[in-house]
C-alpha cells in the first residue's frame, strides 16, 4: 500500500474537485504518498483569490445534481479545499501546478493558494509518480 497515488486534476468544477479531494484524503489516511498535478481549469480554481468561490458543477449534474450537492454542503460537508487541507495535514500529499497551465492562465506562483507547494513540468510529475497509479480527473 505504499505505492503512490497520482492525481492529474484538469477539471475545475467543485464536484470533480471534491471527488478528487476525497480520493486524496483517503489515500493519505492509509499512508499512501499522494502527488497532485494541477492543469488548466483545476489550476484556475486554486487561485488564492478564487479558491473559496463557487466553481460550478460538471455539465451532467443538471439542476437535480446542483440540489443534491447543495444539500450535502448544507449538511456540513467540508468544501474540497478544506478536505485537501486536512489531507495535507496528514502528510505525504504534494500539490504541484503544471508549468504549461501557469503560462496559459498567466499566473505567477504568488497568485496561487498556499495549498499549492510549487510549479513543475510533466516530467517531474512522472518522476515523482514512479510506478504508482495515475488518475486523470
Amino acid at each position: 500500500m505504499d505505492e503512490s497515488l497520482n492525481l492529474v486534476l484538469f477539471s475545475g468544477t467543485d464536484d470533480k474537485l471534491q471527488a478528487a479531494a476525497v480520493l486524496a484524503a483517503g489515500a493519505a489516511a492509509l499512508g499512501k504518498p499522494v502527488n497532485i498535478f494541477l492543469q488548466y481549469w483545476a489550476l484556475d480554481a486554486f487561485r488564492a483569490a478564487r479558491i473559496g468561490l463557487d466553481h460550478g458543477l460538471a455539465a451532467e449534474a443538471g439542476p437535480a445534481g446542483r440540489a443534491a450537492v447543495d444539500a450535502l454542503a448544507g449538511a456540513g460537508q467540508a468544501p474540497w479545499s478544506a478536505t485537501l487541507r486536512m489531507a495535507k495535514e496528514l502528510g505525504g500529499v504534494e500539490i504541484q501546478a503544471c508549468s504549461l497551465s501557469m503560462d496559459l492562465l498567466k499566473l505567477d506562483a504568488g497568485d496561487l493558494d498556499p495549498l499549492v507547494d510549487g510549479v513543475e513540468g510533466v516530467t517531474a510529475f512522472y518522476l515523482n509518480a514512479g510506478d504508482g497509479q495515475i488518475v486523470f480527473i
Binding site: 500500500m1 476525497v22 484524503a25 483517503g26 493519505a28 489516511a29 492509509l30 499512508g31 450535502l72 449538511a75 456540513g76 460537508q77 467540508a78 478536505t83 486536512m86 489531507a87 495535514e89 496528514l90
Partner: protein
Amino acid sequence: MPVIETSQTIDARGLSCPMPIVKTAQAVRTLASGAAVELLATDPGSTKDVAAWCRVTGHELLEQSVEGTVFRFVIRRK
C-alpha cells in the same frame, strides 16, 4: 464483555466520507502504542472503511456496533 478503556472519542457524526477516516488517522497518531480510541460516525461507508483502514494500517478494530443511525468503533493503536 470486557470494558475497553478509551482515552478519547472522535465525534465524526454528521461528517461525510472520508472525514471519519481522516479524523481517525489524525487521532490514532497521537495515541501511545496499545491505547484505544472510540469513533462515532453516521457515514454508512464507515462500516467498511474503518475495517479496511485498520487492515491496511495494522491498527486493531476491537469493537464495532451500531445504535440507531450511529456506528461506533473502538480502535487500538498497534
